[in-house]
């Protein structure tokens, strides 16, 4: 499990349930690595501001993370973390590698 203060998606079942029950969802799938930690950190701060969005992380190395790894929107991604933004269960944006607070905020403003 990732050592963040975010809620974790730990299985395919929980992933499906999360998307089914929430309109706006952001999931960052990564490890506790240098490119991932700044994204979790920004999400922890943004979570307080954007109460209409559910923020989650997911461990890239658990088998069920294939739900993110194999998304068509993540094809060609070769940099952790894979960060995916959903609206009504559908992917609206996906990014690869490190993103800073401002870049994430810009996506949230645009998509939600």
């Amino acid at each position: 499990m990732l050592q963040t203060n975010l809620k974790h998606v730990e299985s395919e079942g929980q992933y499906n349930e999360t998307l089914q029950n929430n309109e706006n969802v952001m999931i960052c799938c990564g490890r506790m690595g240098p490119m991932c930690v700044p994204v979790y950190d920004a999400m922890e701060d943004l979570e307080k501001e954007y109460t209409n969005i559910k923020f989650y992380d997911m461990d890239f190395d658990i088998p069920d993370a294939h739900v993110i790894r194999n998304l068509p929107e993540c094809r060609g991604f070769m940099g952790l973390p894979f960060t995916v933004y959903y609206k009504n269960g559908k992917v609206v944006t996906a990014t690869t590698s490190i993103q800073n607070y401002e870049q994430i905020k810009e996506i949230l403003e645009r998509e939600y």
């Binding site: 506790m32 690595g33 930690v37 700044p38 950190d41 060609g76 991604f77 070769m78």
Partner: protein, 309 residues
Amino acid sequence: MESNQYDVIVIGAGPAGLTAGIYSSRAKMKTLIIDTGTIGGQMILTFEIANYPGVESTTGYQLAKTMKNQAKNFGCDILSNVRLTDVEFDSKIKSVTINDKDKYAAKVIIWATGGRSRMLNVPGEKKFKGRGISYCATCDGDFFQDKEIVVIGGGNSALEEAVALTKYASKVTIIHEFDHFQAFEHAVSEARKNPKINFIMESHVVEFTGGDSLEKVKIKNLETGDISEKKIDGAFIFVGYEANNDFLKDKDIKLNDWNEVLVNNNYQTSVEGVFAAGDALAKRYRQITTAVADGTIAALNAIEYINRK
């Protein structure tokens, strides 16, 4: 004292800034640390830290977390992921504005904004970041299992990471602009004796191309001017660091030709009451240990400066 008034404002929450905050708040100075990104600065970009004295082995993330907790426990206020919109260095009471609206005042500012990995700034670099271009071998190396990659750079990071990447890649080509490397001899010899590593010297990468992901790199031979194309699956860029001092360009604080802050023996900048520490400085060795030392000295001098006034 009003809530937005401080004795010391530290700008930057890497090892230099956090240390300055620890010393300053422990000396009962009301202290605020501000960072435009994540607490820990470049420290959190390091997976394993094995040469920080007193700690056998740790991660940058853990060390940053410990330093942050120490600063908080001594009473430091810390704000991260904010936008720095204005800093007034010159007046007797300095001020810092964040997010265009929140203004904080202090008797002293300690500038500790650190540095960042330098980009090549060539066409295709931004487009293929995370789609074949990486700045972290430990993070992304396993995406390149049995693939052919290039490593760009000639310092310690480039050569050490090139060797580390041979665990995954079938072939690693190091591209470097000079005919010799800046890395330590042991790093160069490790790379030279690795059968998976090839070298392209005296050359610049001028463009990255591809479709969904990176497919080719264009390389210019600096001696002949010839441009060739190389088919690759990935590129790792390690071309050094630059100071995060863009904000100081139109300010009175003296910088050298590389935009690094110049300080006197007390770590005071050319503006009275503004001190600086860490990788934002003009200095030779950039380590967590040297940043921590800078932060300590800058804070102690800042405290003395306040007490003298």
